[in-house]
Amino acid sequence: MTYLLDSNIVSAAMLMDRAVTSKLAELEPGSAAISALTYAEIRYGLQRMASMPMSKSRQQEMAKREELFDRLMDHFDVLAWDREAAEAFAAERIACAADGEVVDVLDLLILAHAASTRRVLVTRDAALQRRNRKGPHRAAVISW
């Protein structure tokens, strides 16, 4: 089984959330990836934090946080969002509208990425979890 990890799971891993780190420790090498969109979201979050005025100890903490993300990325493929994902996005968005579900645009782009790459989406987002096995791709959505 292969997984696509959502931004909130990557963020939880960086905080050493036990539920996430215990899953990571059991993963087969190469079985988990993140979307380039998730990479962008985490990088933005880190840079936004780093751009704020802070004490020296906080600057050191920021450097450690950046390093932690880099070490985590040693183990994940970062998947490009491509034409197949775009096709899946259109179909999944139509299905969401038909089901009366409003899903955040970035979450929907990531759901489409999981659907197009046939990976299980791992997320803690409640709106995405409600899309488990729904939509034309029947994409699996789970939480850790």
């Binding site: 960086m14 420790a25 979050g45 934090m49 946080r65 040693d74 955040d104």
Partner: protein, 94 residues
């Protein structure tokens, strides 16, 4: 990109040098496998070893990632609607 290397004799075994840029530490447990076409693969036996090692080192330095402030992940809102049948208003150029 594949990096060329040569095997060499080490006692009764055949060994291969792995460049330092791969980040494999001496004594690190690895898994060897061979594909049907003969390709030999080397994988780390302990997933996320460098990540967990970095966490341990940070803790030893007095930084516990579990106490870091969570990243703010902002929602973008619902997708915008685009009506392909109506021309979109043109922006005035300055």
């Amino acid at each position: 990109m594949p990096i060329p290397t040569k095997s060499f004799q080490n006692g009764r075994s055949t060994a291969v040098r792995i460049p330092a840029e791969f980040g494999i530490k001496p004594g690190e447990e690895l898994l060897l496998s061979q594909d049907p076409d003969g390709t030999v693969r080397v994988a780390r036996a302990k997933p996320f070893a460098s990540f967990f090692a970095a966490v341990e080192r940070m803790r030893a330095e007095g930084f516990d990632p579990a106490t870091f402030e969570p990243l703010q992940i902002t929602k973008w809102g619902p997708p915008r609607e685009v009506d392909l049948e109506r021309p979109q208003p043109r922006r005035k150029s300055k």
